[in-house]
Amino acid sequence: MSLTEAPARPGPAAPAPRRLRRARGTLWALAARVWLVPIALVAWEIATRRADTVYFPPPSQIAARMHEVWLSGPVSRLFLTDEALGTFGPSLGRLFGGWLLACVLGITLGIAAGRSRTLADYIDPIIEFCRAIPPSALIPLFIVLFKTGTQMQVATIVYGVIWPILINTIDGARYVDRLHTDTAQVFGVRGAQRLLRVVLPSAAPKIFAGLRLSLSLAVVLMVVSELVGSSDGVGYQLIYTQQTFDMSAMWGAIVVLGILGYLLNSSFLLAERHILSWHRRARQTT
């Protein structure tokens, strides 16, 4: 193995034409990725106008309705209306509340089970059984237990998203490189230090894969739980607008969910790239 070259930084030493070329390259890459979006939108607009049915309002109409319902508020609140805050606030609260709770539970339990063969042997069959049950099937139970409302929705989300986190964490914590654990042992790195500086970072790439999967699952379960038992939130909004025949607003909620999922995934990837940069770069160089 030879000395690896320094990680590519645009640095002041880079000659101007090269930087310019790189900027142009980035722009092209972006364009190559999004060029289809306006075309799809135009096609959607034309198709819905031609079809002219109430169930498929054209996107321009959906956008206008979304603006009217959610984005015509005061500047000080980023144009958000009370309606928008009352819909997205509870939904996002449940989403992140449930997801974070599942993260804490899943990672804690996963590390414990990954490092203890005995514990893993006990809980493996239980995990396999529990995760085979579709979380939506438990909604009736959660409604009985918690009544309709935030508790029941958070319970549904936690139950639904904890499995990928748990299973990936167990896997990651179980297969810490032998030489890493030997080194830690010889140099007396134990207890919390060993957990935080050796086991957790070593398992981190796997844990993150689980977290990302569970985040998109959390969006699904947030909507599902709000469809069934809620008096606010995006899912409730979907049902309510459908029942009041406000098709444009219903489509608006669907669009918002798409945007939300996209944003969540992109921000998560960004955070992951930052936190696991050692992993990505170490793999590139060895």
Partner: protein, 256 residues
Amino acid sequence: MLDVVNLTHTYGQGPTAHHALGGIDLKVSEGELVCVVGPSGCGKSTLLRSIAGLIQPTEGHIRIRDTAVTGIPGDLAVVFQDYSRSLFPWLTVGDNIALPLRRRGMDRQARHRAAAEALQEVGLDGAAAKYPWELSGGMQQRVAIARALAYRPALLLMDEPFGSVDAQTREDLEDLLLKVREHHRMTVLLITHDIDESVYLGDRVVVLTSAPARVAGELPVRLPSPRDQIATRELPAFVHLRAEVGRLVRAKDRRG
């Protein structure tokens, strides 16, 4: 300082059992550098792992400074052959060296000062903020040596420490080891399969037989210090010793 008596280790049981160590007796005195030579797969690493407390010997016992080794001895550092897996890729070079120093009761500042000093000693000044994988193999092994130095162990164990680097780097690292060991008056037990290396580095060479390993013979190395890669290796005494060690290694091959 290190006292190994009748060390025996068997992996597994019954007819498939592998007898790695067949009763090894070994003494290392304070400040001595002892090289253990033996062919690949003869149980050298098992010996080292037993002394490091990473595995329990089947029989026999190990004492360091008159204290029996039961768990992981507190005063011991190891440099492994596989530097890329023994350094933590998620920690910077400085943090890799500083991490074990917590148990020495040093505060954050003292730990990082010790790391910087150790890096300077191995010729890597200012590399503390780099990550291990940004360095070449030889440099990574220097970091592993720096980690061991900063730890100030009573006994330094090295498991084929220079087995994965090229010849030139290997000579540099050998001389580095001799330098820092002289400076710290460290006790070192180095395991290698390279006969030349064992004679060049050691105060004493212990030859093991093939598995189940036993001590085939011991040779004191009386070569002038400081040693020099060219001059030392052309001394008649060096050539003679190398042949002696070679004969011992061969003898056990024929028997096995």
